[in-house]
């Protein structure tokens, strides 16, 4: 006898439609939340450092069951496959289906948890309410302690936003496009206020809950893994400089954990959209690199770009490009420079800088020593000295270094696309 726990239209067909529609969502991080053990009688906890459960055929980490609750959208955003004017198969899950899929997958260790987003069904509130019902069932009825990332539908009531933050580890409101003007042009049914207001509300609630929990440990958590957002790159005319400044503001003023960038995949021939042959993956990649400089390397957007040079260099990563513009900063002496200065050397990342600082407590680091502690100097060698000795025969002209770097890399060949590395996983 065939036993089936999933009823017809089958959940499998829906799963294919609704995970396919979610695949361009870049965020898959599951880190930064610590729920130590599973709740009594329940299932699931979260891991501080994030866990990848598989890697899909495009090489990206799979950590969460990424789904839309529905792709049946009332809105008509020009850049989106799910826009109402587009002819695609439509489907919507019931709350129970999503709950069961999450639990069955979690019990077999396929996933860290659930990432749930949705198209706008009847209204923002009606949609948001159904999404909240899914997580409420998971947390309350099923005592599910795994990771949950919930998208906020722009325009939903603050009551629902609060409820979402109460159950989820992370919540996010998508920026979608990097400016009000573009939003108006390409997503006329969404208002900037409808995006920024919940963001600010979430920021405040997170802050308050942190303060409360310092006083009383059992005070309720609010989105303990913070808030993130995503914007589409290349569907509208903003420069990289504008985009980076926007991200910088979001990190500083709204306390965001992460901004995700998603290269625009041409999905329609709407004449409001640029005609491009393929998604701007290199640009997306460079933006992620620049974003890392903002978050982990102590750079500001204004150091990386300017009004005169508002776009990221295609042939060099943003740190190398910065170094080439600032010959006066180099060479950096490995044995003396502080951590922050080491981080500014092209080719030296967080791990390498930490290893250098840890090793030189014991003895001066020699060029051979760099190898021993596992620091690759392929790129860094043009920018450092070791106990006063240069690594590379005095290449002090930026032009020469530029030449050398390009040659060393098979002239501008850039590896693409890179796996989105989860912060904290390897650091």
């Amino acid at each position: 006898m065939e036993v089936t726990i999933f009823p017809a239209m089958n959940t499998l067909a829906k799963l294919q439609i609704l995970s396919g529609a979610a695949r361009y969502d870049a965020s898959c991080a599951s880190s930064g939340s610590r729920r130590e053990g599973a709740p009594p009688g329940g299932t699931g906890n979260t891991s501080q450092s994030g866990i990848c459960h598989s890697w899909s055929d495009d090489g990206r980490c799979i950590s969460l069951l990424k789904l839309l609750l529905s792709n049946d959208c009332r809105y008509d955003c020009a850049y989106c496959v799910n826009r109402s004017s587009n002819q695609v198969p439509r489907a919507s899950f019931t709350a129970r289906e999503v709950v069961d899929l999450t639990l069955e997958f979690y019990r077999r260790n396929y996933i860290e948890g659930l990432f749930l987003s949705s198209a706008v069904m009847q209204s923002p509130d009606q949609t948001m309410e159904r999404m909240v019902r899914v997580v409420e069932t998971l947390r309350v009825e099923e005592r599910f302690g795994g990771y949950i990332h919930l998208k906020i539908i722009p325009g939903s009531s603050s009551e629902l936003v609060r409820k979402a933050g109460f159950y989820a580890d992370r919540i996010s409101v998508n920026m979608e496009l990097p400016s009000q003007a573009s939003l108006q042009r390409l997503a006329p049914q969404k208002e900037k206020a409808a995006i920024l207001e919940p963001m600010a509300l979430i920021g405040r609630e997170i802050q308050e809950s942190l303060v409360e929990r310092k006083k009383i440990r059992s005070a309720p958590r609010f989105a303990p893994s913070g808030q993130s957002t995503q914007m589409i790159i290349g569907a509208s005319p903003e420069t990289d400089f504008q985009i980076l400044r926007l991200s910088q503001g979001l990190y500083k003023k709204m306390n965001l954990k992460r901004v995700y960038y998603s290269a625009y995949v041409p999905v329609s021939d709407d004449n409001r959209l640029p005609v491009i042959a393929s998604p701007p993956l290199l640009r997306e990649h460079r933006l992620y690199q620049a974003d890392w400089l903002l978050r982990f390397y102590g750079f500001t957007a204004e150091e990386i770009l300017s009004d005169d040079a508002p776009h990221l260099d295609e042939s060099f990563d943003p740190k190398t490009a910065w170094a080439l513009r600032h010959p006066e900063f180099f060479p950096v002496e490995i044995n003396r420079a502080d951590y922050g200065t080491l981080l500014r050397v092209p080719g030296i990342g967080v791990t390498s800088a930490k290893r250098i600082v840890a090793a030189r407590r014991f003895s001066l680091i020699t060029p051979e020593g760099m190898k021993k502690i596992g620091v690759v100097v392929k790129r860094a060698k043009y920018f450092i000295t070791c106990s006063g000795r240069p690594f590379e025969q005095s290449l002090h002209q930026p032009a020469q270094i530029r030449q050398q770097l390009l040659l060393g890399e098979g002239s501008g060949e850039v590896k693409l696309p890179r796996q989105l590395v989860l912060p904290g996983l390897y650091a």
């Binding site: 999933f6 799963l15 299932t43 890697w55 069951l65 990424k66």
Partner: protein, 245 residues
Amino acid sequence: MVKYLCDGTSDGTLSAIGLILQEHSDPGLVTLSEREDTLFEEGMFIATDPLKAEDLFSRLKEKAPDAARTLYFFMLAEQEGMANSLLHYIEQALQHGDKVNGYLTHPAVRDIVTVSRKAARELHRMKGLLRFEKLRDGAYLAQMEPDHNIIQPLAYHFSRRLRAQHWFLYDRKRRTASSWNKGELRFGTIEQFTTPALSEDEKEVQAMWQAFFKTIAIPDRKNPRLQKSNMPMKYWKYLTEKQGE
């Protein structure tokens, strides 16, 4: 140079190290190796004394908790022929405390830290890559063949996570097993293993996961090389999503 031998088990190696560090004021002049079955043994054999081993481990834990963690993961790697490196690593750790792990220009420190990191990395990987299958009696079983002997910390991880279900882990390579049922974690060995029958709905759930796995990849961005470097093929054997591809 003073040469010592030990039996090469973890207790044997650690008790020898404990004794050497106690007796010698300059352990830099001492070497330690595992006894091999040759006629001409060079060096003095130190007999295994589990108490001494435990003693050393708790001393290390107190003086350098990070180094004790490193030692724990190093032991999971079941590496042979590294007794001497271990001796000098522990000597350095007791001297410098936790910052010892940054002393990578020291050959012994680098040897131990490198091996230990590998074991820790595999443990982290398996936390994600382990796959459970539901059996006919409702229990769940996960099989694996890891390079390192990680079943203990792995089982501990799942005892915090999958608390509400009855499960087994089985390391096919070492024939060791672990089980969790109603709050009790156990370890043992299984000499005769026969794969039990799956629950009737198991294939259905697996098909869902396989479908999800296929759909979530962006078609224009296929990148098998990146996939394999993140998820080496040696782990595919038990990955549900890689069956019947």
